[in-house]
Amino acid sequence: MVTSTTRQRSAPGRAPLTGRARAVGQGRTGLLLLQASTVLLVLAVWAALAAAGFVSSTALPGPGAVFGRFPELFGDGAYWQAVLDTLRGAVTGFVLAVVVGVPLGLVTGTYAAAERSTRLLVDVLRSFPVIALLPVFLLVLGSTPTTKSTVVFIACVFPVFLQAQYGARSVTPMVAETVRGYRIPRLLRFHRVILPSATPSIMTGLRLAATTSVLVAIGVEVLTTLPGIGHEVVQAQQGDASATAYAYIITAGVIGYTINLLSQVAERRLLRWRPPAHTD
């Protein structure tokens, strides 16, 4: 009962159309047309704003100028290098965060005492804005790719940890009692009971962390001299090429959007055996 409502909310595009919704859009093509025209409308407003000159062209170049930069950038090795640099830092930190965060989260989530003991500590550490550690890391580690991955790791480990913990706690008492009653060995219990029931929640954590990783990597690049998309934005803006800066920002958006889509697909494939209860 609960899952069916969540599912409807979580994937509005896929939910069976209710009478009202069917009357609204004439099927898929109508919806796509509608969405495309909304995008066009926003682009038009953007162009009008840029042309009207309310905002200086260095702060907001027109869409024509921005998208006109892409053909040249695509042919430029530096562009792909920047994308690769950002992704490398993000992925390294992300993978580390998963390797550390998931097991720790599962263990602390399984044992109530461990969860209680770590709660306050994790709460405090989690609300810590990681990027504020950057000056300290720059002092200790210097301006190296390690700094970038470390900051990304710290930013990603908490969502992963908390979601794994949450998932492990979601094992229903009945199942937990049954496992206890049959004296299932500990390792088997983790592998066959806790991990599967925590997977939906873990996937949510991975999705959050994946988005965060790119965000933080770019943030670090903006503030340091480390190469990557963030650094390119700074360079372009300082060189009065704000159209290029915007092109890089849009690139970052496309990366973030793609990660979101990919993780949704992965989530659906991995969890095909059960309704998506923990998505939002």
């Binding site: 909310r9 969405q35 003991s117 810590f128 002092l139 965000l215 943030g219 803006q237 920002i249």
Partner: protein, 276 residues
């Protein structure tokens, strides 16, 4: 919490406090008399923090940062909830804007920091704008999904009784969406703190971000750590305040038995869940 007998309360406090206390003790002991340049004794850091707060060199930085966060977040909340209510209430609009809003959320606001600050200046206006811009998306998207998630039967009932729209908004739609909205504001708060720090490190004459940058680049390590700790405390303090507001406004929601909840508080371990 209030329902607990006080003995149980103390016990649960003890359960939660021993590890943080242990970690703090280890930190203090491990760094006591430390001669390492990068890791000064924790007591030195705390003393520096205390001095800065009492003598006022940190107070103006703190006030500047706090003001930017609060103003930016307030603007984002008002705009986000307002626009979210409209978009969520009109199905056509919601479906038309969905991909656009998803993309907008995926664009990292930190990348806008150099563009905005280099063109609009290092004052607090551009920073508030950046914080509002970054915090807007989670609030907006969560409001939309909260409004959309209000039980259709409730909606139809309100409609068939011809409840005036203003009453419907304040008594049906807004309360129904409030749990989701709060989840959005909570995400927005963490984004706001990050943007505050980044925008101040990037270019600012005052602020906590500027403080840690300046002290870091002049190798005043205890000051850097003190500023970093203060930012952490600021982030935690604001999230506790938000949680308190949520408890006041959403008490009715958390008191419902879990089975009838529409949504769970996202990845959040609120004190109210401690018994479950």
């Amino acid at each position: 919490m209030a329902a607990h007998p006080s003995g149980a309360l103390w016990k649960s406090l003890l359960h939660q406090l021993w590890l943080p206390a242990l970690v703090l003790a280890i930190l203090v002991l491990a760094t006591a008399g430390s001669t390492s340049f990068y890791f000064p004794p924790a007591t030195d850091v705390l003393a520096t923090l205390w001095r800065g707060l009492v003598h006022g060199e940190l107070v103006s930085d703190l006030a500047f940062s706090l003001r930017n966060i609060v103003l930016g977040l307030a603007i984002a909340t008002v705009v986000g909830i307002g626009a979210g209510l409209v978009i969520g209430e009109i199905p056509l609009l919601r479906r038309a804007t969905a991909p656009l809003l998803d993309f907008a959320r995926a664009v990292p606001t930190v990348a806008f920091v150099p563009v905005i600050i280099l063109t609009l200046g290092i004052g607090s206006g551009p920073k508030i704008f950046l914080i509002a811009l970054g915090s807007l998306w989670p609030i907006l998207l969560n409001t939309i999904s909260g409004v959309h998630g209000v039980n259709p039967a409730v909606h139809e009932t309100a409609r068939s009784y011809r409840i005036p729209w203003r009453l419907r908004l304040t008594k049906v739609v807004l309360p129904g969406a409030l749990p989701q909205i709060f989840a959005g504001v909570r995400i927005a708060l963490s984004i706001a703190v990050v943007l505050m720090v980044v925008s101040e490190i990037y270019g600012s004459p005052v602020g906590l971000g500027n403080y840690i940058l300046q002290s870091g680049s002049s190798f005043a390590v205890p000051e850097t750590w003190a500023g970093t700790v203060l930012i952490g405390m600021l982030g935690y303090g604001l999230s506790v305040l938000l949680l308190a507001a949520e408890h006041v406004l959403l008490g009715w929601y958390h008191q419902r038995p879990p089975r009838t909840r529409r949504t769970k508080p996202r990845n959040e371990v609120t004190p109210s869940c401690s018994g479950i």
